[in-house]
């Protein structure tokens, strides 16, 4: 059983693969930005003394963390397109798969981000809020000016690591036949009968990007630790 590798279909497919990579990055970026904003709100709700808010946030986080990502994405592929075409009166042919993927990822990742951010908020000593309050700041001001900036500085490595995992997870959108980087590689391989080569190539690209990114995070963390120890 000798398999003859043939990489010749890759160079010509690069523009198409790049289009796929752009979709992967677009989904990642949206999910990170929305995830951090909505995740911060969820974390603050969960730590709030207003019980219904805390319950809502806890329910949301536990729900999304207990369901496989694939299923969340599948539901969104099935529901969101209908919802969007219905609400905005789009023609049935409009491609809303990308939008539904972005929404699905963003809502799912928010649950994870909110847990990271909650830990970050709790890592800021209570005395900081007391000091801010003693200076006459409202709770919202103390949060915005004193607690969150410190919490985020401590959290940046974790948030970036989560973003790297998220980038890998975007490959799951292949099941909606949306041509992200992985989907594009699969399509080219399928077309040319060179699936093994294309998937090896895609794997190498994922590895290279994620490894480089985590090295950067590591270097940042070292710098951060040095700064704190100062």
């Amino acid at each position: 059983m000798n398999y003859e590798f043939d990489w010749s279909s890759i160079p010509g497919a690069l523009p198409f693969l790049w289009e796929g990579m752009k979709i992967s990055l677009e989904i990642t970026l949206t999910a990170v930005v929305v995830g951090i904003v909505w995740g911060t709100l969820l974390a603050m709700m969960r730590l709030s003394s207003v019980k219904p808010l805390a319950w809502f946030a806890a329910g949301y986080v536990n729900l999304f963390r207990a369901i496989p990502l694939v299923m969340v994405l599948l539901w969104f592929f099935l529901i969101v397109p209908q919802l969007l075409t219905g609400t905005f009166n789009l023609s049935p042919g409009t491609d809303v798969r990308l939008t539904s993927a972005m929404i699905g990822f963003a809502l799912f990742e928010s649950a994870y981000y909110s847990e990271i951010i909650r830990a970050g908020i709790q890592s800021v000593p209570k005395g900081q809020v007391a000091a801010a309050s003693a200076l006459g700041m409202t709770y919202a001001q103390a949060m915005r000016l004193v607690v969150l900036p410190q919490a985020f500085r401590n959290m940046v490595p974790l948030l970036l690591t989560q973003a790297i995992v998220l980038f890998q997870d975007t490959s799951l959108v292949y099941m909606s036949a949306l041509a992200d980087f992985f989907g594009a590689a699969y399509k080219v391989g399928d077309r040319d009968g060179r699936l093994v080569e294309l998937l090896l190539f895609a794997g190498a690209v994922y590895f290279f990007i994620c490894f480089a990114a985590s090295q950067l995070v590591r270097r940042y963390q070292k710098k951060l630790n040095a700064h704190v120890a100062h």
Binding site: G127, S133, L135, G136, Q141, Q150, H230
Partner: protein
């Protein structure tokens, strides 16, 4: 200026404060001392509402702290507080630490707040450190910045919660010097501290607490000469014998 009347507080079934009453007049310096766990820090935190209390009343400058209708943030902006662990904001430069609340709470312009902050920084002898971050200063220096930060709000009175307990011995005096100067300028001060030298020098009265109660509340002369309660006698004997 500060009047505390029959204040009691409990966490669940644990009684932290029992029927505490005292009065601080304008310009007075009151030292609160007592063994650890006696409730002195809790009492001083009740004065600006950082700790809630279940019964009794506290009023500062005629405004009731426990009243739900009171705008606590506004009241706190007029009451300076210095903490045991300094609590400077580590992500801001010293200048920003001094000006942030002036700008965000009092609505002063950035330039005005900066000038005021620098003036006070000069007063506590740290003008050269204006652009540094809190982590680059020693404990004593950080605490002096914290005092300047509180003074920048033009407080009507100052609360000190064990301001020297977290400091290395050689840094205690630089902080006490600033406090003594402040007292001599007529600032109304309530200080939780074990620094009896400070009490002897500037206090008008000394309050001694034990197990959540105010056991002694007397002039410093009377307190040091002949404390009435046995508990205070023991306490003084222990901390003054060395």
């Amino acid at each position: 200026m500060i009047s505390i009347h029959n204040v009691s507080k409990h966490y669940g079934s644990f009684q932290v404060l029992t029927d505490c009453s005292t009065e601080v007049k304008k310009g007075e310096v009151i030292v609160v001392c007592g063994p650890s766990g006696s409730g002195k820090s809790t009492l001083i935190k009740c004065v600006n509402g950082l700790e809630p209390f279940q019964s009794g009343t506290i009023s500062v400058n005629g405004i009731s702290v426990g009243d739900p209708k009171t705008n606590l943030s506004k009241l706190r902006s007029k009451v300076g507080m210095v903490f045991q662990h300094f609590e400077l904001f580590p992500h801001m430069s010293i200048t920003d630490n001094l000006s942030i609340a002036q700008v965000k709470v009092l609505g002063r312009s950035k330039d005005e707040a900066r000038d005021k902050g620098l003036k006070l920084l000069d007063r506590v002898g740290l003008k050269a450190h204006a652009e540094k971050f809190p982590g680059q200063l020693s404990g004593g220096q950080q605490q002096r910045v914290a005092i300047a930060r509180a003074l920048a709000m033009d407080p009507i009175c100052m609360l000190f919660d064990e301001p020297t307990s977290a400091l290395d011995p050689e840094m205690i005096n630089e902080v006490l010097d600033v406090m003594v100067e402040l007292a001599q300028e007529g600032m109304t001060m309530m200080c939780v501290t074990h620094e009896m030298g400070f009490a002897r020098k500037v206090a008008n009265r000394v309050i001694f607490m034990d197990q959540g109660r105010i056991v002694e509340d007397d002039t410093k002369e009377a307190f040091f000469a002949n404390p009435r309660s046995e508990r205070a006698q023991q306490f003084l004997a222990k901390i003054l014998s060395h």
